[in-house]
């Protein structure tokens, strides 16, 4: 699809509710006026580092930067050192933060000041609107430029795929700076439909309170980690129209449990910071992922790539993909985590799914040592969170499901895997725990 020359900041009508701050609705007209007022406070030129935790303030900051023709830097990693590196590397002149931020550059606290009515500006589709950074779970974080046209196309595709009804309230539990959170909770209200919830929410009781504070229909946008926590909390949620999950593979059993508990379909998004959201599936019913409208996958022996509307070139993917009929594909592990032992191949991600599917295992992952290829005695390891289970019990359960060559040694029992706010595990940190002894 050829990129359109310019696209409006928002496709929503002036009187439509585009966001909710607690119970207070914000119309498109008010949002535009407040964004214009904030734009007047931004220093000119240079990217803006946006670290707002309040999702509406994050959206205001993004819109204000767009109005000024400035790029927004989005980092899911909020450690001061990482943010300072990003700001320095990309020449950011200021940061937008609603919480105290020890950063070596001027920090502006955005406020939702009612300004005069402001126009809905047209933004060139090819202009870089944001730069997202990979989470770092798979290596050194990389910068990925997001043209405005690609962000808009992604939001439209998501709205079509998830049939976001008018009046839907979107409660997100992922930071707005994570590309998945940015697309589903900021861009979706701007160009798809529904109203975002400002939050921030993370813990089960806060998620419940946020959902209860907004009228139906409610869409919960979350992660497998938080789905598990919500179900484990054993608290009742108000009726949901749907649940969306991403950032990590969603166990089908967990998805089924969530659907049974909340009576709403649980859909999973496949994507990457580089490409954005590009496919989805109903985890309990479909193994194959259905590409978003307008998105084209090229799957070859050496790897797969995806062509995304608005992005200048096909994006190579870190996963191995296989077609499975009806235009859908299945994931066959990450390119970097295919391991070969005793002449057999297995995917670390697949083994991890088997591990976390064991009754009593709350969390865990398989790890391959660095010398797996050259050391014939090297074995995989597993880090497991399973209160009440010991290593022999876990091994016995795995023995029924996994080829002997891939059985882990050692199995390290941990209280919790070191995860960030969206549930991404630092594999290096886990490896250090697993092989320290």
């Amino acid at each position: 699809m050829p990129a359109e020359p310019a696209l409006p900041l928002t496709a929503r009508a002036p009187e439509e509710i585009v966001f909710r701050r607690g119970a207070e609705p914000v119309t498109t007209a008010r949002f535009l006026a407040e964004a214009a007022a904030l734009a007047d406070r931004l220093p000119g030129g240079g990217p803006v580092l946006n670290v707002c935790t309040d999702r509406y303030l994050a959206l205001l900051g993004f819109a204000a930067a767009l109005m000024r023709g400035q790029v927004t830097l989005l980092s899911a990693d909020r450690t001061p050192q990482r943010l300072a590196e990003i700001a320095a590397r990309h020449g950011a002149l200021c940061a937008l933060s609603d919480t105290p931020a020890p950063l070596p550059l001027p920090v502006i606290a955005p406020t939702a000041d009612a300004g005069t009515l402001a126009p809905n500006p047209a933004i060139p589709a090819g202009r870089t609107a944001a730069i997202g950074f990979t989470s770092g779970s798979t290596g050194e974080p990389q910068a990925h430029a997001k043209p405005w046209g690609a962000l808009v196309a992604g939001a439209r595709a998501a709205a079509a795929r998830f049939a976001v009804a008018p009046g839907t309230n979107i409660v997100g539990t992922i930071p707005a700076q994570h590309m998945y959170g940015f697309e589903t909770t900021l861009m979706l209200p701007l160009h798809g439909g529904g109203a975002g919830h400002a939050g921030p929410v993370f813990y089960p009781s806060d998620i419940q309170a946020a959902l209860a504070a907004v009228p139906a229909p409610r869409l919960l946008v979350t992660t497998p980690l938080q789905l598990r926590a919500l179900l484990g909390a054993g608290i009742a949620l108000p009726p949901l129209a749907g649940v969306i999950s991403a950032t990590a593979p969603l166990d089908a059993r967990l998805a089924a449990e969530a659907e049974a508990a909340w009576g709403a379909p649980v859909r999973e998004i496949y994507g990457a910071t580089e490409a954005g959201s590009v496919a989805s599936r109903r985890t309990t019913r479909e193994e194959g992922w259905e590409p978003y409208p307008g998105v084209a996958f090229a799957i070859a022996e050496g790897g797969a790539s995806v062509t995304v509307p608005g992005l200048p070139a096909p994006v190579p993917l870190a996963d191995r993909l296989e077609w499975c009929g009806q235009g859908r594909f299945r994931l066959a592990g990450r390119l970097t985590d295919m391991v070969k032992l005793a002449g057999k191949r297995a995917s670390i991600a697949g083994l991890t799914r088997i591990l976390t599917g064991i009754e009593g295992v709350e969390d865990g992952l398989f790890l391959a040592p660095d010398d797996l290829e050259r050391n014939p005695r090297a074995r995989l390891a597993a880090a497991v969170v399973a209160p009440g289970m010991d290593a022999p019990a876990i091994l016995a359960a795995l023995r029924e499901r996994v080829e002997p060559a891939f059985l882990p040694r050692p199995i390290v029992l941990l209280d919790a895997l070191p995860r960030d706010a969206v549930g991404k595990v630092s594999r290096a940190a886990v490896a250090a725990l697993a092989w320290k002894r």
């Binding site: 608290i235 009742a236 919790a416």
Partner: protein, 200 residues
Amino acid sequence: MRLAPRLAVSLPLSGLFLLAQSASQDLAAATLAAALGGAMLAPARRVAGVMLTALAAASATLLLMAGPFGASAVLAALPPLGNLALAWHFGRTLAPGQEALITRYTRADLGEPAPGLAAYTRRLTAFWTGVFTVFALFGVAALAGAGPSPGAVAVASIALSAALFLAEHALRPRLFPHLPTHPWRTLRAIWRVDGLADAR
């Protein structure tokens, strides 16, 4: 324990109890207080069951007052009985295989607690069990004529409970600095857990 049906019965009873007390109607006040206690502790899920338990507690109290005990003695015995009930409410969750009450509240608030937090909330549940037991013992001693008056002990136990609750919320952020802690969060979690249909 579902809170909503209990409150539906106990709140009107509370109003009547306060009215009776302000009018120095000890007999009515003691009967209503017993009904109130019965409503809050009723092993029932529905309003009808809660009402029946309240009625039974009120009837038993009336019988006691008609017998060797006067209305004022029954009224004075209610605070230590209330503390004993609270000690039982907390303490029974410390039995093997049970989830400690405050661990349950924490799970409702933050999700499955890490082992360190679970151990802390379990110890905290034991601590509150002890606190209510001690309050009950002081109440009984006061009834027997030792120490301050039963009324003073009752007021002190309520004030100390509130102070301990707030003090613990000041201590917890030092032990678990990364977790959100606020009395309001705890009260919200208690409400949610007790409001569940399948809650204990």
